[in-house]
């Protein structure tokens, strides 16, 4: 089974260019931090409530990406806050992305192609091998949002993640999104890590806007 971070990257993948959606690094890193934290929660390595996060078990998960995340938050006190854990992981966003891409390549979902940009700069493309995993993620999201079905915990996570960084636009048209907004909000708020991540993104966005001239 793919990790939530891998599913998030797949949703951000642009099939034409073989690259990932051009999201601001800060926001993508926050979403990836949320994704790995949610993965650790689904594996009962961490638990959260409305104000705190507890590391329950430091035993390796067997996934390089998630063990990296688990080690990264090991420096925090055993009982900390979700925001503090997200902050630690957000700063490791580039490495989390690299490891998630490596896992997708290792699973035979992406392949890596090297090339040159302007004949000088090294560039990497990651074309999908057959795209069926991406179609499966999109199918799960659509089937849940278009029904009254009770979501399972993994589906809540992917909807919270995709909603937080605008990736649902890659699955649905603007008018479809408008008609499903109530259902999206209902599902996305069911994950407490997702709520903390969204709050953090709103703050980061506000800070970024202030930095922009005339923002």
């Amino acid at each position: 089974m793919l990790t939530c971070a891998e599913e998030l990257l797949l949703l951000a993948h642009d099939e034409k260019s073989g690259q990932f959606a051009n999201l601001q690094d800060l926001l993508m890193n926050t979403a990836l931090a949320g994704a790995v934290l949610m993965d650790l929660a689904l594996l009962d390595r961490v638990d959260t409530d409305v104000s705190s996060l507890v590391v329950l078990d430091r035993k390796p998960t067997g996934e390089k990406l998630l063990d990296f995340a688990l080690n990264s938050i090991a420096t925090l006190p055993a009982k900390t806050t979700t925001i503090d854990a997200l902050d630690v992981l957000r700063k490791q966003g580039n490495e989390i992305e690299r490891l998630a891409i490596a896992q997708l390549i290792g699973r035979g979902i992406l392949k890596e192609e090297e090339g040159r940009f302007l004949w000088v700069f090294e560039s990497h493309r990651y074309p999908l091998i057959d795209g069926k995993e991406l179609q499966e993620v999109k199918r799960r999201i659509a089937s849940l949002l278009l029904s009254d079905e009770i979501p399972d915990p993994r589906d809540i996570v992917i909807i919270a993640l995709a909603q937080s960084c605008g990736l649902l636009r890659r699955v649905f048209s603007d008018s479809e999104l408008r008609s499903m907004q109530k259902r999206i909000d209902q599902i996305a708020k069911m994950d407490l890590i997702g709520q903390a991540m969204t709050d953090m993104m709103i703050e980061l966005n506000a800070a970024l806007t202030k930095l922009l001239p005339y923002g």
């Binding site: 961490v46 079905e149 009770i150 708020k189």
Partner: protein
């Protein structure tokens, strides 16, 4: 955390007490999945449940999904203020039929 099972008014009642969190969610998950599989109507009496974490919410979510798939009834009763607050923040209150206490939940079945 402790879960005890009783029968009342043709329903199965699971009474939770203590804290439902990541330290006991696996055991609660097993117990609840078993109860849902053999009870057309299940009442979860949460009057003595003091605390619920994300892991605990996932246990209830899975049970609700299992009950929905099997077209069975799953009712929640006696949510304490701290648990109710988590339900409201996470929107879980929209997923379940909730009642102030066990008697009210059982009366709704008549």
């Amino acid at each position: 955390m402790d879960i005890t099972e009783q029968k009342a008014e043709g329903a199965t009642v699971l009474q939770f007490s203590g804290r439902l969190d990541g330290t006991n969610s696996a055991a609660a998950d097993t117990k609840l999945a078993d109860a849902v599989s053999r009870s057309p109507t299940l009442v979860l009496d949460l009057t003595a449940l003091d605390y619920i974490s994300s892991a605990g919410l996932r246990v209830l979510l899975k049970a609700a999904k299992q009950a929905q798939t099997a077209k069975q009834k799953l009712l929640l009763a006696g949510l304490q203020p701290s648990v109710k607050q988590v339900f409201e923040i996470s929107g879980f209150s929209t997923l379940f039929a909730t009642f102030p206490n066990r008697d009210a939940a059982l009366a709704s079945l008549k």
